[in-house]
Every structure is written in C-alpha cells, then in structure tokens.
C-alpha cells in the first residue's frame, strides 16, 4: 500500500512532506529529551526486526493464503509512539531508497499514512483506551485487532485521498474507496491477529518488555497529542487546497463552485494568480492544440468536458511522437557517448 511518486502531484507530495517532517522533528525532540541512550541500538534492532519479520509468512486461518506482519502497531506497543514513529520512518526511508517502494517525494505521504496515523492517532486514541491498564489476554488481543484494522483503514483512506487530490489517476473517489477499504479491512484483521499473537507471546515470555523501560512517560505524551492532530488536519486541508493550485486543471475548483452555486459563470479573475496559472499552463501544456488551457483561457467555465474533444489533429500527434522518439534517441546517444569516453580514459 505504498503511495508512489508516479501518482502524486507536487502540491500534495510537498504538503505531506511538511507534515511528516514536523512529526519527525517533534518525535526526535521528544526522544532527545528522554536522553535514554539504550534506545539507540534498540530502535535500530527493532527496525531490522520489522524487515526480518516480513520474511516469515504464516497461513491465514480458514483461507489458503498467507500473510506477514507489517509491524507498525507492534512497534508503537513496544516503544511508545515517538520512538515507533522514528523507527517506522527509517524503515520506509530504506524501502524507498533501496527497494523503490514508493519514492522520495511519496515518502512524506507514506510516513503520514503508515507512521503518523498509526502512531499518533490510532495508538493513543484507540489502542491505549481499549487495552486499559491490566488487560486480560483476550482484551489485549481484541485491542490489537481493532487498532490494527483502524490503522490500515485510515492508511488506505490517506492513500485514496492523496491519489484523488493529485489528479493523476482517473479513478473516482467512491470507486477507489470501494476498492481499497475492504481489502485493507482484511489486511488489518490479519495484521491485528499477528500483532496480538506476538504480544501474547511476550506477555508469557518477558512481560516486563510490554510495560517496562521502553515506554515513555504518558503524562508528557498526552500534551503533544492535540497539537499533532491539529497539525495533521491542517496539513490535510492545506494539501487539498494547495493541490487545486498545483493540479493540472486550476479551474476545476471553479467549475465545481459553479456547479454547486448553480450559476453558469462566476466572475473570472482576469489578473492575479488564476490568470497567471492559466497562462502559464497554456505555455507549458503538451500538445496545446487540444488541451484544456486553450479553451480555459477564453472562458474557463465554458470549457468542453474531456469527453467532448473532437479536436484531434493527426499532424500534431505525429509531431509529438516523432519528437519523443528523437529526444529518447538523443538521451541514449549522450549516455553511450559518455560511457565510451569514460572507457577510453
């Protein structure tokens, strides 16, 4: 469920980077204040554990398929939210760098979906209240399953919203939600079961690890929570608003405003940001002959719907294909020439 660079617009990607960076700075400051140097190797080891745990699959009961531990919730239970977030961030960064899971711009979105949401929303607001102070094994298991399911649902929702706001994919929001949420409910239950099983094992083997030294002081942790929630909500909002400006159709918002207001044409600003963006976009558009900006510049609210573009000019298509082919050939030629020069040196 890693978000990918290829599906993101710069507005959404950078907004998510902002939130993730703020969360990382906050969590790091908190850890630095604790100044517990035992945590340094422990966090590294648990990050490696999450990788290693993904090598061992298990049979999902009552089905023929297999699953593996994701590890986010388990980390929060063992380390507390702040250290867990830093560990998850490191795991996602290594995945983005070495395994091309997601990407560097999408890293912000992935940190938000798989780190901020489970650590700073699900763990304190769902897992902690459910599990209570001295839970029975059954209660501990139920809390883990519920929290993991919630966490993955929120993560999937994040992916869907980020993808839809970016506007690279054509999937409409309801369809995408219908595709993602049921799948992630199932994955969440499996993740919850695996987490619960390990937590129950640890309760028998080394109970002190679950309530012992690794957990942070909850009193301080509580005060950060509303702030982080606020930051997250504000960022989601900003991301949404920003993405309208950064999106490929800056007048999409205006169009939906017109729809909502029942007015055919709201007064269109002829100067300012909107006009500048429209002008800029017209300059930048690929195959400007039949893209929106040409129509949009004339009358934004009267632009034809995408389905009604009859204006297909084979000549321009030919130019695009020819030019693309020549460009690619040039890039490869530069590559080969550089390599030949290097091998001669």
């Amino acid at each position: 469920m890693h978000m990918a660079d290829a599906l993101l617009s710069p507005g959404v990607g950078l907004a998510m980077w902002g939130v993730a960076a703020a969360a990382l700075a906050g969590a790091s400051r908190r850890l630095r204040q604790r100044a517990d140097d035992r945590l340094v190797p422990l966090m590294g080891m648990l990050g490696a554990f999450v990788f290693a745990a993904q090598m061992i699959n298990f049979t999902i009961p009552a089905t023929g398929s297999s699953g593996h531990l994701g590890g986010g919730l388990l980390l929060a239970i063992l380390l507390g939210p702040h250290a867990a977030f830093v560990v998850i961030a490191s795991v996602l960064t290594v995945q983005a760098l070495f395994f091309a899971d997601g990407g560097l711009l999408a890293l912000g979105a992935n940190l938000f979906n798989l780190g901020v949401l489970p650590c700073f929303l699900v763990y304190p607001l769902i897992y902690r209240p459910l599990v209570g102070v001295a839970p029975s094994p059954r209660r501990a298991a139920i809390a883990a399953v519920v929290a993991a399911t919630f966490g993955l649902q929120l993560g999937a929702l994040g992916v869907v919203l980020q993808t839809t706001l970016s506007g690279i994919s054509s999937l409409p929001l309801p369809t995408f939600l219908m595709l993602m949420l049921p799948i992630h409910a199932a994955i969440g239950i499996v993740e919850g079961l695996a987490t619960a099983a390990i937590v129950l094992f640890l309760r028998r083997a080394r109970p002190e690890l679950l309530d012992g030294a690794a957990l942070p002081a909850p009193v301080v942790a509580r005060s950060m929570r509303p702030l982080l929630t606020l930051v997250a909500v504000a960022a989601l909002f900003t991301g949404g608003v920003l993405s309208w400006f950064a999106s490929t159709q800056p007048d999409g918002l205006e169009w939906s405003v017109a729809q909502a207001a029942g007015v055919e044409a709201l007064p269109t600003p002829q100067q300012g940001l909107h006009a500048r963006l429209a002008g800029l976009q017209q300059q930048l558009a690929w195959l400007p002959g039949y893209d929106w900006p040409a129509a949009a510049a004339a009358a934004p609210t009267h632009k034809p719907a995408p389905a009604a573009w009859p204006d297909v000019k084979p000549g321009t298509s030919l130019a695009g294909v020819l030019g693309g082919g020549v460009t690619l050939a040039l890039v490869m030629a530069v590559g080969f020439a550089l390599r030949r020069r290097r091998s001669r040196d």
């Binding site: 990050g47 290594v94 899971d101 506007g167 054509s170 079961l193 640890l202 490929t248």
Partner: protein
C-alpha cells in the same frame, strides 16, 4: 528464495556499487540529494497527459548512471519489481478515460492510455533517479548529508543502525525459518501460533542483541551521540552540478523540446 531475500541481495549490490570510486561517488552527497529531489519534483509537476515532454528528463538518471558506473541490469531489475500499486491504479485510467486524444498511424488513442503511459514513465524516472542516487552515494555519506542538511540526529543514527543490522536479523530469521521447515514435514508455512512463537523468539533475540550492542558501545565511550565521519567539502563543481541540472530541469519544464523537434522533422517530411 523469498522476494525479501532477493530484495536484500539487491540492497547488498547497491551498497557494493556505492563503495567504488567514481565521478558520481566523489560528488558531495548533499549536491546529489538536492539535485535528485529537484528532479523528482520537476517530473511530477508535469500535466497528467505529458509523455513526450517528460522524455528529455531521462537525461538526468542516464548521465548519473553512466558517471556512477551503475549497471543498467541492476537498475532495470529493481525497476521491474517497483511499485505494482502505482501500475495497478494507473491501469484504471484507460478503462475510465476513453475520450480520444491522439491519432497514431490512423489509430485513435484514448486519454486514459496517454495518462497511463505518463504514469509508467514517471515511475521509471523517479525510481531510476532514487536508485542511482543510492548506488552512487551509499548509506553512510547519505546519512551524513542528511544530518548536515538539518535532519534530526536521532533519525540519521536510526537509519544507520537499521541499515547495519538489517542483514544480521534477516539472516537470523532465514535460519529460524529453515530450521522450522526441516521439522515441519509437508507444512510449507507455519500456523499463526507457531509464527507468533518464531517471531517472538526473534524479537527476544533482537532485544538481547540490542543490550549487548549497547554495552559494547558504552565500553567504547558512547555518550548518546554518534559522530559521523565525513570528508566532503563543498566545491565549485558541486555548485555547478546543482545549478546546471536545475537550469536543465527549468528549460525542459518551460519548453516542450520533443514537440519542437517533432515539428521540425514533420515539416521536413512534409
């Protein structure tokens, strides 16, 4: 071999590439990091129907891969495994967006296929650039660069520890699984209960290993701070590198070169 073991092998080979002395590894890691981030932002800032206009950007990963002597095979292998999620989501575009957009050799191509091609191209460019970055830099220099760019120390140290012990714990997990398989007869995968016990023991070993490492670090004077050695000094060449590539990204973003070249050729053909 599981897919994760394959992935770890790839990680090892990327690490090995970064230890060589090439034109790319000699660049200041901060320059490479900044240029790569700017590159990715330029790629994703294009219109969703851009295909040809994106192609000139392929010059950046190509030139860096050549400078870093990164074999094309390693790149293509990881590219092929990369992000099936983006491709799956992208494949809905041709189904949903059927308005004709181009005519190629008499065949109408819908907007959906054009935007799908754009997604595939974006995926290739962004993934390619980040792989070249890590293969031409290595984890230690990259973490040092992150620390000097203001990323919290807690995080860079965590990245280094994770990178260091990834293989150790993965190998331990693989040995445990082999031992289980040898005793499990015809059961290819463990039940949830056995799985929990296996991972639980792996977790206990991880805790104990962390304690031993902490003891060893204390014995060597660890005071809560990990000092990263870095020998880089920002040079004129690094500035040229960043500014040059930046100018190239802006030029590609502002002018549709393939379209211009294509017009020229199409004119010549006509």
């Amino acid at each position: 071999m599981t897919s994760l073991e394959t992935a770890l092998d790839d990680l090892r080979s990327l690490d090995a590439l970064a230890t060589r002395d090439t034109d790319l590894t000699r660049r200041d890691p901060r320059a490479k990091l900044v240029a790569t981030l700017l590159f990715i932002v330029s790629v994703v800032s294009f219109d969703r129907y851009s295909v040809a206009a994106l192609l000139p950007l392929a010059l950046f990963p190509t030139v860096l891969a050549v400078q870093g002597e990164v074999p094309a095979r390693t790149l293509l292998r990881t590219l092929a495994l990369a992000s099936p999620f983006a491709l799956m989501v992208g494949l809905f575009n041709p189904l949903l967006d059927r308005a004709p957009m181009l005519v190629l050799a008499g065949v109408e191509v819908s907007g959906g296929w054009v935007s799908f091609a754009s997604i595939v191209l974006r995926l290739g460019l962004t993934v390619g650039a980040s792989l070249v970055l890590i293969a031409g830099t290595g984890m230690h220099p990259l973490c040092a660069a992150l620390a000097r760019l203001g990323v919290p120390r807690v995080f860079t140290v965590q990245l280094l520890f994770l990178h260091r012990y990834l293989f150790v714990l993965a190998a331990e997990a693989a040995r445990m699984d082999t031992a289980r398989q040898l005793r499990a007869g015809s059961h290819p995968r463990p039940s949830l209960a056995v799985h929990a016990s296996l991972l639980g023991h792996l977790l206990l070993r991880a805790f104990e290993r962390a304690q031993r490492i902490h003891g060893a670090m204390l014995a060597r004077g660890f005071d809560g701070e990990l000092r990263l050695a870095h020998a880089w000094r920002w040079q004129m060449a690094d500035t040229t590198f960043v500014v040059g590539w930046c100018a190239f990204f802006i030029a590609v973003r502002w002018v549709d070169w393939p379209q211009a070249i294509g017009r020229l050729f199409a004119g010549a053909v006509a």
